[in-house]
Subunit: 368 residues, 2 copies
DNA sequence: ATGAAAGCGCTAACAC
DNA sequence: GTGTTAGCGCTTTCAT
């Protein structure tokens, strides 16, 4: 196997990177000694360590993680799928996740997937990289795929989404109760004509938020709740809200399935229809993204505490990566109904919390 | 090397993944035949191909990209560094980049780095993964590090940032002319008291935007330009703008070094000080992020066409990855001054473009 | 504590 | 076109 067979380009700077062998030779030790120096907890004498580290520095040695992964069968990489980051909630989540993973020694192999289309083919690709785990942010995978991952012993955590099968672990906000609480809040505010702007149909998140909202209201004999689909996107949400506000019987309370759409709604209501949120109409979102707190918006919303949720993801991952029995678990994180200016405030139930106001129903919303 | 030495856990599902060998045996061919089936352009007979693919399907075979990378010395992975994604411009860029890279067969290994702190140590880590290239979004690397990458033959592209050394390629918007144009625009609008809200000090982007703005104005005998630092962050920008508006001689025109800060400024001016942008005060940004076009904001801004810029990144990458002489090049992408409601409109120079209005100076801003 | 040797799963000559 | 063979750079027994 003559390496020399390849013609040497004149001035070729792309030398072969330094290997542990090179370091070993320079340090006058064996290659395994070099390896041990870079293996936490291996037994190396101080002298050897010094010699190796000096040689390594001189040669600019960087252990080849690829070779290491091949043998250890751990890449220290977690595959992370995110939908397009139009929605700031996802960006924030990705950010927090990436930082949290870095802290426990993992890198992120990123996959931007079409929110609507299936993510299976691209995930198929990821698996070739032997990622140690998969985190899917607001993206589902077919149950068939989930099965395969489980058989491979590959931990999968869904963030802000659940699977029907329940095979994979999931971390979500309290969609059901949050939505109920929003319904209760709007009802307490004296509203009569309700509307719901849905996110992506059939997404578990939308399903739960819609179910919570509608079931609470219909149990209180509220009828004729208008419904539009906003797909969690700017353009669809704008059309949805516009169509609602053009109704003869204009709704006086709109619950948008996430903050991003609610902010769009705020724009349409104010600029397009001259309505003042909180007075002429109430608009509520879900997520509590940063911008919801911006003065110009002042969006009332149910919070999903990203950091807490990410911590739970990390917890699940650590447990599963350490080789424990991979029991799928569904974590639900409670949030709070953050009260700002975009919706009429009920007379009771408000209390100060931290730097803002929150609302709590007199009694916990009943379960239906 | 007894693999059996490890105690087999009862119900252990983590089998050894299928290898090319397993497939070969089942298909009754050699292992290299299997390899060839998965190598585009290799010569395999139709029969062999069929046999292999069937065996592969039955066994759920997935080629091990790690092993492949070890020998080919190409990981098909690009390391991408992003600062925290508080600024939507970065999220959008990451998104577009990730999609564009996927199209040419590359994955993204992500690094969320602290915008301020040095990114070198974490990048050091990345190199162990033998990434084929590095894209740094709004993040610089020390020139020492750049040198090392060049010696390694590792292509580095800076997005929205330049290095002093000019060793690495860069793709940026037209910061200098954009900022000049903004100055000209505000001057044409009849403004007298100017202010600049800077981003991160010493970032090349901020430096150029500031230089363009200030030099244009001072060449026109404008004196006493107020300056605050907003660090591209929400909180710092808020304080900066607040301090400007509390001035006895309140500025009547504020240029914020990016859109994100300009949106914050819009919030502060309207809600905090009861000023109506476009009438009482002019606020201009830089980037033209999606939200700048939202009705409630209507931010006048100089655009940085993300897709075009990303295409340029891809172009540079493709050229360098194909092994061409790695000449660093600095690409500057022109944008447009998008005119919306947040700033007073000059009498002349406006024209319709696409779905909005743009402004162009009568003559190109002179070079100083 | 250290070195020798055997691979991890694959690609790439090379012979046939 | 296909099988054989020699590694890619590392970790991990196993002896010493």
């Amino acid at each position: 196997m003559g390496r020399k067979s390849r013609v040497t380009v004149i001035g070729d700077l792309a030398h072969r990177p330094t290997t542990a062998h090179d370091v070993a030779r320079l340090a006058g030790v064996s290659q395994s000694a070099v390896s041990r120096v870079y293996t936490p907890g291996a037994s190396v004498s101080p002298e050897t360590r010094i010699k190796v580290m000096e040689a390594a520095k001189r040669l600019g040695y960087r252990p080849n993680q690829v070779a290491r992964s091949l043998i250890t069968r751990r890449s220290n990489i977690v595959g992370v799928a995110v939908p397009g980051t139009e929605n700031p909630f996802y960006s924030a989540a990705l950010d927090a996740l990436s930082i949290a993973l870095a802290r426990i020694g993992y890198r992120v192999l990123l996959f931007s997937v079409d929110a609507i289309a299936g993510s299976d083919p691209i995930l198929e690709e990821v698996l070739r990289y032997r990622v140690d785990a998969l985190v899917l942010i607001s993206t589902s995978l077919s149950s068939h795929f989930a099965d395969e991952c489980m058989q491979l012993g590959l931990p999968v955590v869904l963030f802000n989404r659940k699977t029907d099968s329940g095979l994979a672990s999931s971390v979500t906000g309290d969609n059901l109760n949050g939505a109920r609480m929003i319904a209760a809040f709007l009802l307490a505010g004296g509203h009569k004509r309700f509307a719901f702007v849905a996110g992506v149909e059939h997404s578990s998140t939308n399903r739960d938020r819609e179910a919570g909202f509608l079931s609470y209201l219909s149990a209180r004999k509220v009828r004729h709740i208008e419904r539009r689909v906003g797909n969690y996107s700017t353009t669809a949400a704008e059309a949805a809200v516009r169509s609602l506000l053009e109704l003869e019987k204009q709704p006086d309370a709109i619950f948008c399935a996430n903050d991003h759409m609610a902010l769009v709604a705020l724009n349409v209501a104010q600029v397009g229809f001259g309505l003042q949120p909180g007075r002429d109409i109430s608009i509520v979102g879900f997520d509590n993204i940063d911008m919801a707190g911006w003065p110009l918006f002042g969006l009332t919303t149910y919070s999903q505490p990203i950091q807490t949720m990410i911590d739970q993801v990390i917890g699940i991952l650590e447990r599963q990566l350490s080789g424990e029995a991979a029991v799928a678990l569904q974590q639900v994180t409670q949030g709070e109904l953050i009260v700002r200016a975009s919706a009429r405030k009920p007379k009771t139930g408000l209390s100060q919390s931290g730097k803002g106001w929150v609302w709590r129903p007199r009694t916990e919303p009943a379960v239906f």
